[in-house]
């Protein structure tokens, strides 16, 4: 599931993802995030606290979203990623390509810096 929230910052949206992020829904989630980036023109904070499972299909979505945003001069920061998902990113050596914050406030600082 994907829920989008406005924030106090005019150039910032928060997305909450929940449930599994795997081959069954990765394409839908990818398209939703791409649409938000392309049409919204805002930086994104994507909260992963409620994402219980992520496979390579989901990890590709995280990466593609970052690359698309960067190509448009925008930023994507992920927050509250679960320990196992963080471990999988480390296995793949992606921890430097995907910005991860512990909290919303930290993510805002990383974006507005």
């Amino acid at each position: 599931m994907l829920i989008v929230n406005e924030t106090d910052h005019p150039d910032l949206l928060v997305i909450h993802l929940s449930g599994k992020l795997d081959f069954t829904n990765a394409e839908d989630v990818e398209n939703s995030i791409k649409e938000l980036i392309n049409t919204g023109g805002k930086n994104l904070i994507i909260n992963l606290r409620e994402v219980s499972f992520i496979s390579s299909s989901g990890i590709r979505v995280l990466l593609i979203s970052v690359k698309l945003a960067e190509s448009l001069g925008l930023k994507v920061v992920y927050t509250e990623i679960q320990e196992k998902a963080r471990y999988l990113l480390e296995i793949l050596g992606l921890q430097d390509q995907i910005k991860i914050a512990g909290s919303y406030d930290e993510a805002v600082k990383m974006i507005t810096g």
Binding site: D22, S55, S56, I59, K67
Partner: protein, 137 residues
Amino acid sequence: MNRHYSIEIVNRVSELNRIFEMITKFSLENSLSRDCDYNLNLILEEYLLNLIKYGYKDGRKDIIVVNIELSIDGMRIKVTDSADSFDIRNAEDYDSEMKLEDRRVGGIGIKLIKALVKRIDYEKMGENNIATFICSK
């Protein structure tokens, strides 16, 4: 308590949901740890998706058999199919430095499988590929 489970699926992506329903039941019946359940789901999604998408260049129909067995030493996941020969142990490693568009599709999943298991065995018996993944419980 069921320490062993076996399921057959047709080589279609739409069949994979049956596997994951089975894993949910198997995990509950055997009180698998969250980490073990996660690994089981991940290994089978990555391996079977790769197998179904790229293992049948001529589009032929096949039956894939998945066996899961728990022992004192850990968990053994065995996949038997008659897809084109594929020894995951020799599959190209994913390169994080490579551009996303240049990476071989499936490479991310293969890298994850190799990192999560203690051992992978592969043998070719006639037309059959038999891949066995050993991991911690």
